[in-house]
């Protein structure tokens, strides 16, 4: 239901378990992380396909690759930095270079594990995993997209990384439809373009709607970071001439970089990038940190106004 707050991890885990009812190739791997990834239900309904390995992410990533060579579809979910930074070489070689049909999900992405500090934040995962050729990078924007993205990643024959957050997020899409690499046009306008990704998009949407009386804004929501929907972004950017990217990631290496590179050779387009400052985010309350970085609704609203005035 539109506006309803739903837990991303529970939504993710239920979606995996539901699809696994009809697909016995799906196996779940846990690095002491399955229950807190919303996969406790899967463990109970499919114990023979749920494997616990304890706290080790490099090893589990290799195991996932080996299982995939046998025709299984491993799903491995843990705290985002542990399945992107810690195991990076295994992700690159065993999953990426070996082209294995492995699904790795980073939960509590961005700085949504706010008060656990920078060791538990993931502000470079789009950059890291986006640099591995052949790996799809997903960042579903609401609970409906999480459900759709889970189905899409399990149907996709190849390696996928998906980032989800921590706290409940509101549903903004009416259906679970999700196509890898396709943006969704949330609002249409001609003054400027906002390109947003992941669980920040509901805030970007609220900001755009707050400004509806003063600005006509194109809001392009990306549930897929890699491959980028270049056509959707180019079409909008050429029309408006001003683009603001919004993401809970460092600007360079993330959506901000990707959009800037895409538009570098397009004359007359100004790009502004709203992202996390390139530093270690302190421990703190999530809402206060988003406000500090201007990634709350008020901050996004202010940044849109600034760009519109340029």
């Amino acid at each position: 239901m539109i506006g309803e707050l739903q837990d991303p991890r529970a939504t993710f885990g239920k979606a995996v378990a539901a699809i696994a009812e009809a697909d016995d190739r799906i196996v779940v791997l846990s690095a002491d992380s399955g229950g807190s990834s919303g996969l406790g239900g899967f463990a109970r309904s499919h114990p023979e396909r749920y494997f616990e390995f304890g706290i080790q992410e490099h090893g589990v990533t290799g195991v996932a690759s080996g299982l995939a060579t046998c025709g299984y579809v491993p799903v491995f979910c843990a705290i985002a930095p542990f399945v992107t930074c810690r195991n990076f070489e295994a992700f690159r070689n065993d999953v990426g270079y070996m082209h294995q049909n492995v699904k790795i999900v980073g939960r509590n992405g961005g700085f949504t594990y706010s008060d656990l500090g920078a060791t538990h934040h993931s502000l470079e995962d789009f950059a890291l995993i986006g640099m591995i050729p052949g790996v799809v990078v997903l960042a579903p924007q609401d609970p409906a997209e999480i459900r759709g993205a889970v189905r899409a990643m399990l149907e996709h024959d190849g390696p996928v990384y998906m980032r989800i957050g921590n706290g409940p997020i509101p549903q903004i899409f009416p259906s679970d439809s999700f196509t890898i690499g396709k943006a969704k046009q949330l609002r249409s306008g001609h003054d400027l373009t906002v390109v947003s990704t992941g669980y920040v998009t509901p805030r970007a949407l609220a900001a755009v709607d707050q400004l509806a009386d003063e600005l006509s804004i194109d809001l392009v929501g990306l549930g897929t970071v890699v491959p980028l929907d270049e056509e959707a972004i180019l079409t909008s950017a050429v029309r408006t001439g001003r683009v603001l990217t919004v993401e809970e990631h460092y600007a360079h290496g993330g959506l901000g970089s990707a959009v800037t590179e895409l538009l570098a050779s397009v004359p007359g387009v100004v790009v502004d990038r709203l992202a996390v400052p390139f530093d270690y985010v302190p421990s703190g309350r999530y809402e206060e940190l988003t406000a500090l970085f201007g990634l709350d609704v008020d901050g996004i609203t202010a940044r849109i106004r600034r760009l519109a005035a340029m």
Partner: protein
């Protein structure tokens, strides 16, 4: 010596000659570790591996992973010697775009099960394969060759824990313990103490053998799993550069760039060994 051991010794000698054939195409490569592991790799291909009707792509095949991917010359030579790869492919070694790269590539060469080369990756991948085989119920086996220097990579011990915890008794690891790595003796570079004791502590069933003695290699392959419910590891003490006396037991053999004269001498030595073994076979 049994007929089987004699035949395997002859195979290994021929495989060493095939390794040199690659170096005739391009005289540079990780020969030392390939030669120390050669008897083990040949024995796995010739004696242990059951491929099934689909051969190297049969979904229920036994698998061989070369975790120490830089020893690829051993795998290429053994594949050719076992008739699983055309010998003419060996002559492409060193060419741009060859299927026989400096480290193995599963997408270019059937028989390569994983893109190893970065050390410490093979064992966790093999655990996944062994787990997958058990889940499928196909009874297939997974054989791995690692190096002793490689075992300093912590990810091996993640794999060691996984295999024991999940009782992967169709997993067999040979540690090619040649005692030398690029910077010198392994005990000086990073002394792991007793490799066998470490695996025992992790819950593996352990054997220690002379890994260049084909009788011992064949025997342990007959005896796996050493303990039902436990993964098996063979700490195989070997000689780096084995079979080419000019480089045996030397760090310099790690990445060998033979001169034409050195290569000729090595080929002569190998062919003498093959001739000797052939005459023994003929005398049976």
């Amino acid at each position: 010596m049994t007929d089987e051991v004699l035949e395997l010794r002859l195979s290994a000698a021929r495989a060493r000659r095939l390794l040199l054939r690659m170096l005739e195409a391009r005289p540079a490569g990780h020969a030392g570790g390939a030669l120390s592991a050669m008897d083990i790799v040949v024995a796995i291909y010739r004696k242990a591996l059951r491929l099934g009707p689909g051969g190297l792509t049969d979904p229920d095949r036994d698998r061989f992973l070369l975790s120490a991917g830089h020893k690829a010359l051993a795998q290429y030579a053994a594949l050719a010697e076992a008739g699983l790869m055309a010998k003419a492919v060996l002559d492409t070694y060193g060419q741009t775009g060859t299927a026989l790269g400096g480290h193995p590539d599963m997408h270019k060469l059937p028989g390569v099960e994983a893109n190893t080369g970065a050390l410490g990756h093979g064992l966790p991948i093999a655990c996944g394969m062994a787990l997958g085989a058990r889940l499928s119920g196909n009874g297939s086996w997974v054989y791995v060759v690692t190096g002793d220097g490689e075992l300093a990579e912590g990810s091996n011990w993640e794999g060691a824990a996984i295999a024991a915890h999940h009782h992967l008794d169709h997993l067999v690891v040979f540690v090619d313990a040649n005692g030398l790595q690029i910077s010198g003796p392994t005990k000086d570079v990073m002394d792991l103490g007793s490799i066998g004791a470490k695996f025992t502590a992790f819950g593996w069933a352990v054997r220690e053998i002379d890994g260049n003695d084909m009788r011992s290699v064949a025997q342990v392959l007959d005896e796996v799993p050493f303990t039902v419910g436990r993964p098996s590891v063979v700490v195989a003490h070997t000689v780096k550069g084995k079979g080419i006396s000019a480089i045996e037991g030397t760090v310099a053999s790690h990445y060998w760039k033979p001169s034409p004269a050195e290569l000729r001498a090595a080929i002569d030595e190998c062919e003498q060994e093959i001739g000797l073994l052939e005459s023994l076979v003929a005398a049976r």
